[in-house]
């Protein structure tokens, strides 16, 4: 179908090739390679210690890598100066932490939290900054009259939504998420998942989401990567990997989920 070709852009947004991270003799993650295309959501699953969080933090530049290559939009990320990389981290990239306390400034108002990235890239008009903050609070379903409250006064779900607003306000193209629904009540999780799906769709975001919750990736991720002992054991279309797993470990993982 010609329409299929038209939908699929020609170049990946992120190209990862042979990424390896060791902690002394131990392997953090080894020889991880994948391409991420614009608008795609990639889920990374695996049990605790499988290397999925290590991989995410290496990708996001939070820790150095031992080998491999990361290209973002054609640029070699690992060869960038720290200034460039940190600039990337507050413009084109975003990182949503599992614990909103790690991703928010708890002593700063909700509006200030959302506005920080704008100010970091040079916004100097208070009225504009506040207007954008209000718009984003609305998008993540936080009432406008909470704009001057500190996140301390928010529920866990609200804090997580605030963290998302704070991250997306500068229109990033690539979002890293580390267990974004972990630690939330299931009812709150559902709302957050729906919100994330809508944002991904409307903004055309590319997302790498690390989780151990297979239900989350089934609803959110287009593609799935299964990790074990620091290595990728299987990757493919999310529903295909979950419904027709090819690797012994993936079969175990899928069959271990409790049915409700």
């Amino acid at each position: 179908m010609s329409i299929v070709q038209r939908m699929a852009p020609d170049t990946p947004l992120l190209q990862v090739d042979g990424l390896t991270k060791r902690y002394g003799a131990r392997i953090g993650c080894a020889d991880v390679s994948f391409d991420l295309w614009p608008g795609e959501v990639l889920g990374i699953v695996g049990e605790s210690g499988s290397g999925k969080s290590t991989l995410l933090s290496c990708l996001a530049g939070h820790q150095p890598t031992d080998a491999g290559r990361i290209r973002f939009d054609g640029r070699d990320v690992l060869a960038m100066s720290e200034t460039e990389r940190r600039r990337l981290a507050r413009t084109d990239w975003a990182y949503v932490h599992q614990n909103p306390r790690d991703g928010l400034r708890m002593g700063v108002s909700a509006g200030g939290n959302v506005g920080e990235r704008l100010m970091a890239v040079g916004a100097r008009n208070y009225g504009d900054i506040r207007g954008k903050a209000l718009d984003w609070l609305g998008r993540v379903e936080i009432a406008a009259d909470r704009i001057d409250d500190r996140p301390r006064a928010f529920s866990g779900g609200m804090q997580q939504r605030l963290q998302i607003a704070r991250n997306l306000v500068t229109g990033p193209r690539l979002v890293f998420m580390d267990e974004p629904t972990g630690g939330l009540d299931v009812s709150v999780q559902a709302r957050l998942l729906d919100l994330l799906r809508g944002l991904v769709r409307d903004l055309g975001l590319s997302v790498i989401i690390v989780t151990h919750d297979l239900a989350v990736v089934r609803l959110l991720a287009d593609r799935l990567m299964v990790m074990k002992s620091g290595r990728v054991v299987e990757q493919g279309l999310t529903d295909q990997v979950l419904d027709d797993p090819q690797h012994a470990y993936t079969q175990l993982l899928v069959s271990s989920v409790l049915q409700v």
């Binding site: 400034r105 002593g107 200030g112 506005g115 920080e116 100010m119 970091a120 100097r124 208070y126 009225g127």
Partner: protein, 289 residues
């Protein structure tokens, strides 16, 4: 007059050389916080140990020293530091801004414009302007290195969100020569414009925090603000009740239990000079002060 038990200006020569090296580096990189090996001084932290060490490193026997605390020459802190250098360095002292070659100050810049050749030494409690929002020293150093100063505006944003205007009224952050964001020490923001393009050398010493920074003469200092909430150097909307000055920074003094109050220049030398020249304020004749 000098107490011979001590080296000139109390500190030994090696220490003074170490501090001078830090001062030279600070002058070469305006607004950058240079670490230095701060010494124990015979006074508590918070009483100006950083400023005293910088002053000691700059003093020569020919210098004329002035020491002010909140603009006044006659408060405890100012008097004790002045006496300290009289005793350990035997230098001449003055209260007249124009006669001093070195002025050590806590929380003010004198009203009378400084001139080339003068040195203004500030006592600094917290040198790191970013600490209010980012407590990690490793991170704030990285932010200075990479010029990531968005956080500074978050502080001002919070001010406006909470108070309707930038309520920070002292230690108002500035950007030096378009590069480093700097805490000008807790001077009122009224004094911020005097930091910029000043003919005098301005040195900042933080004893407890072991940091020295500086503004060389005539360097550019800009107070941070928003386009729609520009920086304003504010003061109390009064004239001095003693000398009638309209454009000097004022202290509010409560005069009785019935809510009576008066406003007087915080710069005592400036006020006295005006009164001697015949200027008079609302309460000058009454002598209520």
């Amino acid at each position: 007059m000098t107490d011979q038990a001590y080296n000139f200006a109390y500190l030994d020569e090696q220490t003074k050389r170490m501090i001078r090296r830090a001062l030279l580096k600070a002058l070469a990189v305006p607004g950058y916080q240079v670490p230095f090996a701060s010494r124990e001084m015979p006074m508590p932290y918070g009483w100006g140990t950083g400023g005293v060490q910088v002053t000691a490193a700059c003093l020569t026997p020919e210098d004329v020293l002035k020491v002010i605390d909140q603009g006044a020459d006659d408060t405890t802190n100012a008097v004790s530091i002045r006496k300290f250098f009289q005793r350990t360095a035997g230098v001449a002292v003055t209260e007249a801004t124009g006669e001093a070659t070195i002025i050590q100050t806590r929380h003010r810049i004198p009203e009378q414009p400084l001139k080339a050749g003068q040195i203004l030494v500030y006592q600094v409690p917290i040198p790191e302007p970013l600490r209010f929002l980012e407590p990690r020293e490793t991170e704030t150093r990285k932010m200075h290195e990479l010029e990531e100063y968005g956080l500074m505006h978050v502080k001002l944003y919070e001010d406006i969100a909470r108070h309707g205007q930038i309520a920070t009224s002292y230690a108002y952050p500035v950007k030096v020569e378009g590069r480093y964001v700097m805490d000008p020490s807790p001077i009122p923001k009224f004094d911020n414009p005097k930091l910029s393009v000043n003919p005098a050398i301005q040195l900042f010493g933080a004893g407890r925090e072991q940091r020295i920074y500086a503004l060389p003469p005539f360097c550019n200092v800009v107070s941070l603000d928003f386009d729609d909430h520009p920086f304003r150097a504010t003061k109390a909307a009064h004239d001095c009740d003693l000398c009638g000055a309209k454009d000097s920074y004022l202290d509010e003094v409560i005069t009785d239990d019935a809510g009576g109050r008066m406003y007087v220049c915080s710069d005592t030398d400036f006020c006295a000079g005006r009164q001697a020249a015949g200027h008079a304020g609302r309460l000058a004749a009454g002598g209520k002060a």
